[in-house]
Symmetry: C2
Subunit: 440 residues, 2 copies
């Protein structure tokens, strides 16, 4: 089909004033004059005053900091930037029922608005947990029908969660909170065709910023619909919803929590490699492998992954993130696969790595789901086997160790410890202390 984006983008770029005929110029000027009158007369309307007040409050004051630059900007601005930053590596938490990344929008909203309002960590925890439980349930209602229609829950359902986060922190009353959800039901957006571009991390920032915008407008008296999500031609109906509400999404709200089914990524490489790397990590805890004596490593995986992450002889750091053989070698040699810096060009040409890499066989196995893997290591007379399913629950103490290790590797150990300490002394600490850790 015609490339519409190019057609209009190129046209837009190429117009000069003399590209327009007199008729166009006449109507252009008439429309401008007409708009000026209408807008002038509309200045005293409540909606005009409310939106003006919301953006006025953003100026000149240093509401919240951007963790990338340390700059003080508006809370909406900080949420947009920090949301994109947290999802930039696609290494943040994911939820099967949410169908996406719940924390990626809710936490940046809490950090930005929490800093503006000088909230405590306790207030942040309350707002954040409420927000992610709501966004997980709304994401579950939208489900794969929404996702397969082309929408990205991280952006869409994330906007609803962030609105709850912002509403809690701003101290909205019940009606204002419901109304804020109504406002954001027309602001939420985000399509999956942006995957593979900067548009994907942008979605987390959009959602984080949308939540603050909607809650602030609601607080200032902006009136939307109290049934904006589910009404006729509301958000659900217009966004690929299959008109089914899974019972778990609305039942036992307040008693049961869906959010704790959250999953974490522990390896800074393609998701298809995570299952076998976990199986290997478990084996390493019980065995002292000697790389020299290992004769062969067999990895069984769902065949669909072979097209995604089975580069046999990677030559760049990026390629190493998509290689069963090399990441297996890295793991055997004790390299930290949770650390982004581990995946570099040099490691691809390390002699030991290459030798180990070539001892690995990758075997497609249709019987395995795409979260399952089997591994078998032949070392002399012993043949040590393990299997792993990413869907299985991990014991809490094991999980905590893994997350602390990951965060220490990404943040440094002292900084990771400081964040844990701040989270565990939530009454005494302010949100700004958490943002401090992320900036310095």
């Amino acid at each position: 089909m015609t490339s519409i984006t190019k057609l209009f983008g190129s046209y837009g770029y190429n117009t000069k004033l003399d590209s327009f005929n007199d008729e166009m110029k006449f109507f252009g000027k008439m429309s401008i004059l007409d708009w000026c009158g209408v807008a002038y007369a509309g200045k005293t309307e409540p909606v005009s005053k409310i939106v003006a007040e919301m953006v006025k409050e953003e100026n000149g004051v240093n509401q919240a900091r951007v963790i990338t630059s340390g700059h003080n900007v508006s809370a909406r601005g900080a949420a947009l930037a920090n949301g994109a930053t947290g999802h930039a590596l696609d290494y943040d938490d994911t939820h099967f029922l949410f169908v996406g990344h719940p924390t990626s929008s809710a936490l940046p909203t809490a950090l930005a608005l929490g800093e503006e309002l000088n909230s405590s960590i306790e207030e942040l925890l309350l707002a954040y947990m409420t927000g992610v439980e709501v966004s997980t349930r709304i994401g579950h209602i939208l489900g794969y029908s929404h996702y397969n229609a082309g929408f990205h829950q991280t952006a869409t359902s994330g906007s609803f969660g962030s609105t709850i986060v912002a509403s809690k922190l701003l101290g909205l009353n019940e009606d204002q909170t419901i109304n804020a959800l109504g406002i954001v039901s027309t602001r939420a957006s985000g399509i999956k065709s942006q995957f593979g571009t900067m548009g994907k991390p942008y979605h987390a920032g959009m959602a984080a910023s949308n939540g603050i915008e909607a809650a602030k407008l609601s607080k200032l008296g902006f009136i939307s619909r109290e049934d904006g999500i589910e009404c006729d031609q509301g958000f659900f109906q217009t966004h690929g919803w299959d008109k089914k509400i899974p019972p778990r999404a609305i039942e036992n709200l307040g008693d049961d929590f869906l959010f704790p089914e959250i999953k974490y990524k522990f390896h800074a490489c393609c998701h298809g490699l995570h299952s076998f790397l976990e199986a290997l990590d478990e084996l390493k805890q019980e065995n002292n492998f000697n790389p020299e004596t290992i004769e062969e490593i067999e990895i069984e995986t769902n065949p669909s992954w072979l097209k995604v992450c089975n580069i046999e002889e990677p030559k760049t750091g990026l390629e190493s993130k998509f290689s069963y053989k090399l990441t297996a070698a890295m793991s055997i040699y004790g390299k930290d696969t949770s650390n982004l810096d581990t995946y570099n060009d040099e490691i691809c040409f390390d002699e030991n790595m290459q030798k180990m890499r070539d001892k690995v066989r990758v075997i497609p196995n249709e019987a395995l789901s795409n979260t399952q893997s089997k591994i078998s290591i032949k070392d002399g007379s012993s043949n040590i086997k393990n299997n792993h399913d990413l869907s299985d629950e991990i014991e809490k103490n094991v999980l905590e160790t893994k997350i602390v290790n990951k965060s220490s590797s990404l943040l440094s150990k002292p900084k990771s410890d400081e964040i844990s300490k701040i989270l565990n002394s939530s009454k005494e600490n302010k949100v700004s202390s958490l943002v401090d850790c992320l900036i310095k």
Copy 2:
């Protein structure tokens, strides 16, 4: 069905820290720590730096003014507020092919960014005209299929137009302009179920702000898709498009212009009354009616309007805006129906008005379209008739007089004249001079 907005809004409002069990608190803290590590490590990613830079530039500098308050805020903020203000009265221009209000987003983008960049009126005109021609064509492609699916072109197609306006003013190159359209294809949103709430004017502000955001991000190197509008699961496919491209929407781009089919509202009342008020205005130009001697006025209209704007004895200013009978009386007595202040409580109880009101008969006529009307005035022996179709083209000099009258009535005559002068000396004048007129 379950009221989802209320369910989650109320839940969000009601949670306290002790509403959460230990498991939820554990996973909440784990997710925060995990996000902190991932976000910290993501700070050096290009997308993080770009979005941070965009919001950094918004702070502390006085980029653009909000016309409602006169406050200096970010260009994105001013566009959001001024967009909502210009559409607050729903009295701005409309386009049948665009299916909505093209100027309501494109002009606020041009005013806000033009002020930030100290652009000339000539630059504003170029950017604005290019933007509205593009948004009209994209709105036409989306068509009634998109509209009937529940989306509001003013918000969605408006975002594409505003992106072109912003791209022109920022001086983006061709690839950057195409890329900016790709970015906004995941940011554009707006659903029709917000009609009747402040959400409708908000749509114009959202679109105006989205355009600035997308174009600024593109200028800073943010990479999206160059086929974001039409690609598989791109904006079109995910937003109710019927997969048809009307030839006029893409043909003769640059030679023919669709925008000049724009329509204006000339009466500050319900759209259903406009056709007969136009017919009456035409009669008044050729006849000197004496209210005392008029015996009867017959108005024929499409039956659908009778449920919308046929209040027989209005008692408030708001009700007067929905009354064939009273607005006919107001027009006969020479009241300015383009002026918002004309529609007040007092006029409903004016003796002359009430007497004339009761001489009006409203007759449904299935043969008339909803843009057509017939009027007949019985005055002694003469029976003076006229009919009007809002779809008919109006002669340019007649149209200009009408718009100047409307703007003079809304802005004051000197201010309206000043705006006309500014638009006609476009090289010498800056965008800020136009914003001055709207603030003072």
